[in-house]
Subunit: 377 residues, 2 copies
């Protein structure tokens, strides 16, 4: 298949449509990476361009005092009869572009590519990171490969991930960890249940604790984070006539970025302290990812907030911004599209939002840095 042409200088809405029309389900990004690489090489000036698997990297070296990283993934979830893209109009949303990835996140990617080709005199050096395999298991994440093998490409004063935020700056992110609580018992035939010790019954107090848990809310850098501790899985049972000797309860703790992962795990252990102390349950950390502090006090981040009219809010879900935060780079999410429409068959983005985010970022990248901010939500 020949490499599709992308016109980076045209309307970013048209560019979004062209990117959507290149199928790029996770693991199958070579064609879109070829197209993006070819377009960047032909239509931008002053960029060092590099290819690393299906990741396309580009950066300027203008010796400007600050560097802004623009990062976005190339892949989408599996298509659901919603490719190629289609323009339509809805009563509530006006002109929209429909199709797989219009929200998550071909529109954000189009904004970045358009700016790379059309910003003639930016006030920050720019790094553009286009990566693969964001929509599947974290071990395959292309940004993770860059972080491990080419970390210098992630250096900067602020990073913008083009994930959908409805055009608002979403700062930082919460951490997440999963703990498996396990109960042990003694197996027996259920006709003689008193000869066994039922492991499932031992989860009773833990479930009551979860039901009654009151999560914390906390303000950090003007962002309000809202924690949550919730069961995401429960299991146990051997057969219909057997008292189970083992049962487990998987809980997910979403924690504000003022807690480290270790502190967050300690908190979970404290919540279930009585059962853990009595040996009714044991706790095993099965998965963990740190939160990201919003970092909006950093001048380069504050300037971005100012360019956005001072409007920002906290990000709840874990996103790749945490990878930048771990490297000490303040990072935000900013992209067109309603995130609740991502991954849906009727995924669609208002075309005006694509243009608004383009102009917001053009202002930030072109103008002297300001400061200040206003809390939303």
């Amino acid at each position: 298949m020949s490499v599709p042409d992308l016109n980076l200088r045209a309307d970013p809405v048209e560019l979004t449509a062209a990117l959507v029309d290149i199928r790029s389900v996770s693991g199958d990004e070579s064609l879109i990476a070829d197209a993006v690489e070819a377009a960047l090489r032909a239509q931008t000036r002053g960029f060092e361009i590099s290819r690393f698997g299906n990741r396309v990297l580009a950066r300027t070296h203008r010796n400007l005092p600050t560097r802004v990283v623009l990062a976005g993934h190339l892949d989408t979830v599996p298509i659901a009869g919603n490719v190629p893209s289609r323009r339509t109009r809805t009563p509530d949303e006006g002109d929209v572009l429909l199709g797989c990835g219009t929200v998550d996140m071909k529109s954000g990617l189009a904004v970045f590519l358009h700016l790379a080709a059309t910003l003639d005199d930016p006030v920050h050096d720019l790094t553009l990171i286009c990566y693969d395999c964001e929509e599947i298991a974290a071990e395959h994440n292309g940004l993770g490969f860059i972080e491990r093998e080419k970390p210098d490409w992630l250096a900067g004063d602020v990073a913008v991930l083009g994930e959908p935020t409805g055009g608002l700056i979403e700062a930082g992110c919460q951490g997440t960890l999963r703990v498996r609580l396990t109960a042990e018992g003694t197996r027996a035939h259920s006709a003689r249940a008193w000869m066994g010790e039922n492991a499932v019954h031992k989860l009773a107090d833990a479930l009551t604790t979860l039901r009654e848990y009151v999560p914390r809310s906390v303000d950090i850098d003007g962002c309000r984070y809202r924690e949550g501790l919730t069961a995401v899985g429960i299991g146990g049972g051997v057969a219909g006539n057997v008292v189970p000797d083992q049962a487990h309860l998987d809980v997910n703790f979403r924690f504000a970025p003022d807690r480290s992962q270790a502190q967050a795990f300690a908190h979970v252990r404290e919540v279930f302290a009585a059962d853990l102390a009595d040996g009714v349950l044991s706790a095993q950390l099965t998965d963990s990812a740190p939160g990201a502090l919003p970092g909006l006090r950093h001048p380069a981040a504050a300037a971005l907030v100012a360019a956005a009219g001072g409007r920002f809010r906290a990000k709840y879900g874990w996103t790749d911004v945490a990878r930048f935060s771990a490297l000490g780079v303040p990072a935000v999410n900013l992209g067109p599209g309603d995130p609740s429409l991502a991954h849906r068959a009727d995924e669609r983005v208002p075309v005006d939002q694509i243009r608004e985010v383009t102009e917001l970022l053009r202002g930030y990248l072109s103008a002297p840095a300001g400061a200040g901010g206003e809390l939303l939500a």
Copy 2:
């Protein structure tokens, strides 16, 4: 393969060994059925003999006032390197016969076949039922086929199933039913858990109820039954980052035979009444089998108890005796071997127990009926 010869008139221990040495895993009983049928035809007198699939049926028509049904299954669980049988001696048990089925239940079957061939002047008419597929799913159970298609063969005043009981009469059995308690909620991303409603958390009170449930014990016909209500399975969960919108808890209620299945289900609903009334949970009956009243006051059963020296106890587990009870025939389990050794690679039966059960039953089937009984355990 030629049909193995069985000598029904010789030592029932030798006959047990010969039956063990004919492989007869559930579903593969044609050879043992052929051998049993051939031996019954050649070595018994006065029996009507019938073959129905791999079930071998035999009965006398002496116009005696009572009829005793002797029933046993031909099949075993899969062998585990423990065929052919082997005689050995253990310090605690003395002479034993080792092998798959020695306990469950080739020894009980050998007792019945030996008596059919050697009882010259029984005081009861006899029916002998040898059936297949007892060790697998109930739908395949050979006694179930007979119950549905040749129910006249199960008629009698008392039935003895030769399942292992250590040589003691075990009377009646408890009923069993399974109920699935289901909780519904609202799915949400666990990063925004407050937008969902966690179905797993809704199982909290049901588990507490189970943990604190005090089961009933009840005496019926001098047998003490001990009920039990216990979780046998629990499940729920969509993914590690999703608030589950559904969870279930499977409970098994083992109930004394003075409750009907409907009464037993009503009791389970009453136990969880608060959650059911509030709509937190719904309850669905997923499986049910009736108990069997011991029926030991019936004269033919009382005579059996007297022949056993008045020693009997309640059966807790559900067994095929319930099929007879449902037809109005009092039924007991009585056979050589420790039931806790059934299905094990080191399955073994003390040879003296085979002879003791043979003599107990010979006395009952040959002598005038007595009465009385003494409660054990």
